[in-house]
């Protein structure tokens, strides 16, 4: 059932710790989607998965593939770059779309548009 590459003990323990921290952070972040009450609160929690979760799992992956292929493996940095640059953009756009929709719907709980806007 459990299948994994055969690594030296230090690498195995390091990778195991990182992968567990990363998966745990992602799990808690996604749990926020269930537990938080409003949309604006829910937007905050998945960023746990995209920051701490992604970084830790990528570190574990880099650690494993560096040892397995016996060379320094850093191409995981690419995923980190893409995810850390794109997630803020999507969340920002999504939150602004939600704000726009709430304002159109006349929701009192969201702040009104700044009158002096361009």
């Amino acid at each position: 059932m459990t299948q994994a590459p055969d690594l030296p003990l230090w690498a195995a323990i390091l990778a195991a710790i990182f992968v567990l921290i990363g998966a745990g952070a992602t799990f808690i972040g996604s749990m926020g989607l269930l537990r938080l009450k409003t949309f604006y609160e829910r937007v905050h929690s998945p960023t746990m998965g995209t920051t701490l979760g992604t970084v830790c799992i990528l570190l574990a992956s880099a650690c494993v593939s560096s040892v397995v292929h016996a060379r320094f493996s850093v191409h995981e940095a690419l995923i980190f770059l893409f995810v850390s640059l794109t997630t803020p953009v999507t969340l920002m756009l999504l939150a602004r779309a939600a704000l726009y929709r709430d304002r159109v719907a006349g929701d009192e709980s969201v702040p009104v548009e700044d009158d002096r806007s361009n």
Partner: protein, 162 residues
Amino acid sequence: MTRLVPHPLLTTCLLVMWLLLTQSVSPGQILLGGIVALIAGKTMALLRPDPVEIRSWRAVLRLTGIVAVDILRSNLAVGRIVALPSRRRRVSGFIRLPLAITNPYALTTLAIILTATPGTLWLQYNRTTGSLLLHVLDLVDEEEWIRLIKHRYERLLLEIFA
């Protein structure tokens, strides 16, 4: 130099990305990646973006360190809010704060930092008034948040981007 490589930073980054994707540093790949990066740099020059001028690389390093620590800390804070039942009533809400930075690259960097940090979300920036609308998950003290953003991030961004 500037005519051949109009955007040295972009060209270097693209070359590094190419080498990471192909996972090799053989001369052939460096040549191929270099050609692609040069063409992309030239194409970018045709679009005439505002020049990026980084004045202090030390400030870049300091900002990176501060952001890494803050993201780790707010991960723990948000994780606690989500996973543990809270005893006190938590308030989340919108805050509006005035920004001193006007450089589009500095604003973009600040937007990415604030949104990538769990717990704060950049909503809307008004160019005419320079005011920013934020949503904060755990809003204990509005002044505290405004001071944090202005002191920790905005000061360094002013140093970096003029």
